[in-house]
Symmetry: C2
Subunit: 492 residues, 2 copies
């Protein structure tokens, strides 16, 4: 383990109290705008511990993200409520058997109240009674705002909280989800600090991999270095399964899954595409570095890498509040197409290619996505915003205008993917734009992606990621040169 | 990463073919013993990929264990069948969308047939039709043996496979589960080799932790060293969540879960209880090492540690086919009580203490459990064998007679657990056996466990774990002395 000055920052429960405040403000404003009375309770169920199939293997629990956002609770089996009128918060903890302490440690109600800094803590089995008695003044039936709505990345719906006796309450299924989702889109300074720490840890861990990589290793050894380094610095979870793709694997976008478990042997001359991010106290990072395994870019690798890096940098230089993300995606596509044209890998009119969506042959995924407690943070398509249907554009997880406080990834890529190239070749019009001999030559350079995490500021944006990006920087770091920590830089 | 000679062994699909053969033999014998016709198909559903709540975060898939045993399939969404009469095997793979290859890589039927060496591969959507046409000669309705039965560790039932059109088949829910479970209890040489490799990796990773541990570190840094070292050697999964318990945490048996995430700072003078095991190609290990963080046992730590080690060694020296596991548990309890009595921590008649089950005050968990594809491998209580009701004994995951080919953990422990000690003190008769002043003094030494993985041989047993166990060995290794690899030892 190399020397590192990174120490996990303390996490104050004020972060989650602040998240609850933003929700209460949003709900209040919404109710008053729709001339509804200012009453009701946002009521959510936390995640449950899962065992593997019929066995007693317990998956390491990670809290459901909306619940984590509001309460920061690490343990499974909780419910939580936030009263809109008073802003008061209540947690409901599972009542555990007396023998439980022997196996899991003592966790009492006062312990949870102190740990999570909420106004009240009760047991889950007291839920109906507590909600009734606390929120039915003037004889009214209490109103519960439940979380129900579609995640536009997965297409799955969040499951509204339920409990025995819920039929005695008024419930509202439509109000909470869009408002709470929108709260999550804009990051507070305290949230940003955690995303920054996850970025610091991940950046350093990526550099550790760059320094240890060499021909003959296995891809999973790169994963092990990253995971070991991240956990060592307090990040127990990764934001997603590590993608350690080398050689031809770098053009498989979700490489690294169980069926392709980073098990290839590294060859001299291969490119590596490393997409790995650590998570700290629920808040994540999502970083990709691409470089040659032997530490020296050859000419073809340089061409493709610089095409992608230019797109990455051009997008960043244009980012500021009000800019439409779909335009940034198109800018990245166009920049890459222009670079490829310069090398005669493609030829013809760039605007015509853009019209035929040929950028999506080389970059079939979206330019980037909101990032936070989820790697693909929700809120990309609020009601009224339709997902595009065209190749490439339909992969965008958001097409929103940028707003100050958003954290979004910038991750252009250029890949030589058989299926997509064959498809383009089969089309007589599209086919003419490609120089198929050159394509064949470049195919072996696989895929390149450069991914940074950006915070949108009032005037522009700030890069939270601190990895070597220029080819000379990468080659120097891989040869052992020191890399500056983020603190030594002036912020952009 | 320290130098290591460990290289992941190749995994032959003959291992899983052998597992299927044993199942076919067991099913055939069972059918013929119950005068039933030799026909039917063992039919199982593999695990499904899980996303986290409503998000698109995909959990890293790990195959359901029975399915892994029979087919070795790494990917989600499969079904599998084994014909009893012919022994032929069929896999059914999910049919993936054409765009899938761009994201996940190309996985065709021939690819799966070659990878998993089964007789036939079809798509899941062809299931009903293929089963009908392959297994309904003589106009009979095909008979499907489905997996349905209770896991005696979790109390959960395995969910029998189902598909559209299953109502047209004869199904049998009771035969397959006990027979297949019993197959898993006795390990083949090929299975043993993988458990051995998982043990080799884990033993070496434990030693790496012992060498790096020092006051001021965080418990999760110990976890990171173990996880990093294991993954580096090809073990992507751990068998269970790492327990890195130091100081008072070492008496919390399942420490390390999400609510107690190995986040304590290590103090000089603390004991550490490290229960961590790597998994290789589905087969696991489960190893515990206990030692002082500063590398030197003090007198009280020596007393408790040696009490536990003696129990560990005594049990191992008695293990052989025919020995009852409940007797080994009692032997461990008695050995520990005798050691505590020698130090005047308890006093009085050991037999009387055993009768009052006072051994369970210090060791509330079972002595050990079957180990294989699950950390708590099934088969501990086959039909007819009742779980004991008494403290300590009721925690046993098996009370079977040992058989050649079993792999079982030996993990005696001695803990000073508040709840249990208070309970004993409140009982006027039990209370007299304890020297409460001494108990108070020893309390701070926390808990000690020593856990090795044993293979039961024809004449005795073989220890698959290779960690320093004697105090002088531990102190030497922690001070930097080399530790011998397993190959340099003659096997016991
Ligand atoms: Mn990303
Ligand atoms: Mn165990």
């Amino acid at each position: 383990m190399s020397k590192s000055s990174l120490t996990p920052p303390g996490v104050s429960m004020e972060l989650h109290a602040g998240n609850r405040e933003r929700l209460v403000a949003a709900l209040s404003a919404h109710l008053s705008a729709s001339a509804r009375p200012l009453r009701g309770v946002a009521f959510l169920k936390g995640g449950e511990e899962q065992t593997r199939y019929c066995s007693d293997y317990v998956e390491l629990f990670r809290q459901e993200s909306y619940f984590a956002y509001l309460f920061g609770v690490q343990e499974p089996g909780f419910y939580g409520a936030v009263d809109i009128a008073s802003g008061q918060s209540i947690l409901f903890a599972p009542r555990l058997s007396p023998g439980h302490a022997v196996w899991m440690g003592v966790n009492t109600l006062p312990y949870f109240k102190d740990r999570y800094k909420v106004d009240f803590v009760f047991y889950v089995d007291e839920l109906a009674q507590v909600l009734q008695s606390q929120f039915s003044e003037h004889g009214e039936t209490p109103l519960l705002f439940l979380l129900y709505g579609k995640n536009t990345d997965s297409g799955n719906y969040s499951k509204p909280a339920s409990f025995e006796g819920i039929e005695k309450f008024d419930t509202d299924l439509s109000t909470l989800h869009p408002l709470l989702t929108e709260c999550r889109v804009i990051k507070s300074d305290m949230e940003l600090a955690l995303i920054q720490y996850a970025n610091d840890v991940s950046s350093e861990a990526h550099i550790e991999v760059m320094r240890q990589i060499k021909p003959g290793m296995k891809e999973y050894q790169l994963e092990s270095i990253f995971v070991g380094a991240s956990r060592y610095r307090g990040c127990r979870h990764c934001s997603y399964t590590c993608i350690c793709a080398t050689g031809e694997n770098s053009s498989i976008l979700h490489y690294g899954h169980a069926g392709a478990p980073n098990d290839r042997t590294l060859n001299d001359g291969d490119m590596a595409l490393m997409d790995m991010g650590a998570e700290y106290n629920f808040y994540g990072s999502d970083i990709t570095c691409s470089y040659p395994i032997n530490g020296k870019f050859n000419r073809n690798q340089t061409v493709i890498y610089n095409a992608v890096l230019k797109a990455h940098n051009d997008v960043i230089s244009h980012m500021q509040p009000g800019v439409k993300w779909i335009d940034m995606h198109k800018l990245a596509e166009q920049t890459i197409l222009e670079s490829l044209k310069k090398e005669n890998i493609i030829h013809g009119d760039i605007a015509a290619m853009m019209n035929r969506r040929l950028g999506a042959v080389f970059m079939p995924h979206g330019l980037g996505h909101l990032l936070g407690i989820d790697t693909h943070d929700p809120g990309g398509y609020p009601e009224g915003l339709e997902r595009p249907k065209e190749p490439g554009l339909r992969s965008l997880r958001t097409i929103r205008e940028l707003k100050e406080g958003m954290v979004i990834t910038v991750e252009p890529g250029c890949y030589f993917i058989d299926t997509l190239l064959r498809h383009a070749r089969d089309d007589p019009i599209s086919s003419k734009f490609f120089n198929w001999e050159k394509i064949e030559i470049y195919k072996s350079s696989g895929g390149v992606r450069v991914e940074s995490n950006m915070y949108v500021t009032a005037q522009g944006c700030k890069n939270l990621t601190n990895c070597p990006r220029e080819i000379r920087e990468i080659e120097a770091v891989m040869a052992g040169a020191p890399w500056h920590s983020r603190d030594t830089l002036s912020s952009t």
